[in-house]
Symmetry: C2
Subunit: 214 residues, 2 copies
Amino acid sequence: MAEALRLLDSEGISALSMRRLGGQLGSVATAIYWHVANKDELIELVVDEVFGEIEVPVADDPAGWREAAATLARGWRDMILRHPWTVHVLDEVVSSFHGPNSLRLSDEMLGLFEKAGFDLFEADRAGKTLISYVLGIAMSEAAALSRMARDNRSEHEWIKALWPSADEAARDHPRLLALYTAYRDADPAKNREDSFTYGLDRVLDGIEARLPRS
Amino acid sequence: MAEALRLLDSEGISALSMRRLGGQLGSVATAIYWHVANKDELIELVVDEVFGEIEVPVADDPAGWREAAATLARGWRDMILRHPWTVHVLDEVVSSFHGPNSLRLSDEMLGLFEKAGFDLFEADRAGKTLISYVLGIAMSEAAALSRMARDNRSEHEWIKALWPSADEAARDHPRLLALYTAYRDADPAKNREDSFTYGLDRVLDGIEARLPRS
DNA sequence: GCGAGCGTTTGCACACTGTGCGAGTCATTG
DNA sequence: CAATGACTCGCACAGTGTGCAAACGCTCGC
């Protein structure tokens, strides 16, 4: 699993073949099948492993829930950006929601929202809401980043190449054009950070508003 | 593309091979390469096609923005659940954010949030927030549904099979256990709907709170 | 010390994948 | 009628996941 993870992190999902992994271990593809039922199971195991990297901060006082939730969200997103290949195995990811590490994570997240003042049901839904936002944006970011790395072409060049004429673009998509020209000279990394934070704050605002007033 | 979509919808991503698609069209795999550069491009085209199914409601008065945004979110989610294979091609999906249909969609969504009262920048971020939530939860749902269909085993049976003993489960994950036993006799479809709606409302609440008071 | 057993590895084979290349087909046009 | 160009086909290559049976090597009880 460690070797598989190394392969995935350094060269992406397409680098992980059973033959290659076997070779890297000084052995042969079919030898792996003694330890693991099939490739999917291998990936599930690796995915649960990377879930282990996320740590849930403990919020002692109820007031600290929001900061704790934000830290959790950031940790989750950072994990995905550290391992962008997770994007390509989303259904194994979902299956690994039943691995030991992600079970622990789910349970602790429930605890976090319970401590904030929700009952168990609403804690579950609040948690799902937060995680869905994080999953969605992190996967978009990861996919965009890896694609940008593959054919190194900035987002802005992408956009520009799409429109044969500026006039046409302005006619069809006036707002998109205005947005992208405004973004042209911005720092994409900072922009990505700010955008993530903005959404995170909105989601947490929405959740906070549901808390029983203390 | 129509035949590819049919294949994808009825038998999932693994059914779409160039040989199979060629055969279905009364021809041969390599014939497809005249029309399309490679398989990825084919998928991008199909993905943009299904983006075309989503329609953006027009909100005439500013007060209608919330309902319009909710309709948009539901339409997007329904599209993903109608075509669950999109989960497995997330990076082609992200690439197709630059296809004509999704460009139109993005532009119209910007318009929706501008009409609500945001400036262009914040409209972009609000839209990203909403779409990230929808993407995240819909992809989780789609992956879980397709996995459940594959090895027809309910979510609850899944969970039960994980824990060798109830005592152990209760010790390690007390909240998860309580949650799942509470959910045992619930209708999963209704629960999924309610959960989606709950999160959607929280995200929209968070966005609404940022609107300049009118 | 030795054979038995068992966990683990290996080689081989099968059916399948995406796709490059060159030759062939066919309808439309000058 | 000939030729151009859109399109299709057959073949081949390198690669994939994985089933199966044979072989290996280590650790036991005798």
